[in-house]
């Protein structure tokens, strides 16, 4: 999705303004004018300036506010975006409850079904194998505490 420079410029300017406001109550170092608030204010000021210039540029060139520019069509992109966002949210929320193996196998199976399109059986098989490899690498070799969850009794 491509927006006019006026829109991305206003976003940058808004971020700059937010930085300046949020750093207002940071106190300088004792007997100094500089302190923790100096850099945020400088960066915020520059963001305001650059954002402003970008807004001017966008307005002067009369760019379309929002248009579709990607090489891929809109629908597949939104689908991919939805799949990635949903997977991450599902992972973060469900892993503490169900454990890594169950969540990973489920998510991977669904994603394979969506993008590989070779049927349930194969998707499930690859997902189980991939999850086992990731589990071996991260949980066993690198000692990352991936939650075993429901499979705790089985694995240990």
């Amino acid at each position: 999705m491509r927006t006019s420079d006026a829109i991305s410029g206003s976003m940058a300017a808004a971020l700059g303004a937010a930085l300046i406001v949020a750093s207002a109550d940071l106190s300088p170092l004792p007997r100094q004018v500089y302190g923790a608030g100096t850099f945020p204010k400088v960066v915020g000021g520059l963001l305001l300036l650059m954002g402003g210039l970008l807004i001017l540029k966008g307005l002067r060139q009369r760019q379309a506010l929002v248009r579709w520019s990607g090489k891929v069509a809109g629908r597949p992109f939104l689908l991919a975006l939805g799949a990635v966002v949903a997977s991450v949210i599902a992972y973060v929320l469900l892993t503490p409850l169900l454990g890594f193996p169950v969540v990973a196998v489920t998510l991977l199976t669904l994603l394979f079904l969506m993008y590989h399109r070779r049927g349930w059986g194969r998707a499930l098989l690859i997902a189980v194998m991939a999850t086992a490899v990731i589990w071996m690498l991260f949980a066993q070799v690198l000692h990352v505490p991936l939650a075993p969850g429901l499979l705790e009794q089985v694995l240990y």
Partner: protein, 504 residues
Amino acid sequence: MNELLQAASMVLDAEVILVIIAASLFGLFMGAIPGLTATMATALLVPVTFFMEPLPAIAAIVSATAMAIVAGDIPGALLRMPGTPASAVYADEAYLLGKKGKLGLALGINVTCSMLGGIIGVAVLALFAPRIAEFALQFTSDEYFWLALLGLSCAILVAGGDPLKGAISMLIGLSLAMVGMDSVSGQMRFTMGSYDLLAGISLLPVLIGLFAITELLRSLPGAGQSAANVETPKGKLLDGVAGTTWRYKGGVARGGLLGTMIGALPGAGADIASWISYAISRKLSREPQKYGTGHPEGLVSASAANNAALSGAYIPALVFGIPGDTVTAIIIGVLTTKGITPGPDVFTEQGALVNAIFMVFVLANLLLLPLGLMAIKGAGRLLAVPTGVLYPLILMFCIVGAFSANNSMFDVWIMLGLGLVGVFLMENDFPLGPLILAFILGPIIESNFMRSILKSDGDLMAFVDRPIAMVLAGLAILTWTLIIANGIWKGRQAGRPGKAKTVA
């Protein structure tokens, strides 16, 4: 001499060698598949390197990136689809050479010249880095402040496109770096009361989000389409390669040296090195009309340049702690988490480690030849890997990788957030390079600024009262002038009717 022996014994360790080979194979796979870049390979490797000693960690990243850049040439020649952006400039040339029945020659040149370029780069790195480090020992916080600022400015200048957007991208990186506890006064900044943000935003989820999730979101929509049938070269691969390389030996040397220098510039990496080297080789060629029709000359220097740039990028990274490209930005992050702050002191205090790193470079580059040839033979199978399986796996790897740095789900949110920001920025032509460089250099700039200002009791003139600092300040101002001039020039071009589209 003692240090060299010590370094050799560090490198010739079974674990290090194993890591180099495994990482090379990983890089080969990532580079050969279009849509997966060397930076993405590095971002995915970092979670694993977190658990290694410094040397194997660096060895893994060095070998994976070198191999990825070479492997990126393979789909370029076979499918006219560059595997990584660094091969984009000569993908056409290699493909056309292949159409003339010289596929083996095209790919053989890619691999051989990449190796030679890489070796030239390492030689320059090993020769000059210690000298520059010796000089850099005199630097104080004033010089480091200017140097880091200069690095950032250069990154905007070479990022191409609209300098205004490069600058905004950099400022976003600086803003992200400011979250958390201020290193000088210890005050909390922009944590919004969140406990997870007290220590700041960690590097790993930012990297994975910006470089892996962003790329994934751009490639995933096209996943699952069946790969084209690939014709792999038959017969002897290296036929005529030695002759052609020897004929254009000047091109190899020029590409190697130029690539190293471009790689050493902050923000400019392998892709810019290969573009510039190809263009210059065309300009200096005796038969420029043959370029673009399947002529090996440009291939020779550009192949050498992009691998040399990888080594070149380590010069500022190791000597000053200022990354030359996104990959070295990651290396600096990895070293810092291991308690090694890159800078001139590393050369005096950890001489053996520095020499061992150079040796790893040589080893990784020598490995390019056998592994590269193997990859060409197996290219058909490599390119037939179903993307519909690969991309979901990468997504799972990203999630687990982002989680693994601090074992925190919060980092997984950060990864997702930055992935989405990254896609939006890329779609709107904001370069991501300045953002990640600023994220890493931000704390360096700020802490050195505060240190200098405390030393001088608030006197800003202290920043320019030493000769080296004055020169660096002059260079920084020169860079800003160039950026602004560039911006105005591009703005004028965009203002003209008909040309607006190419710039915007």
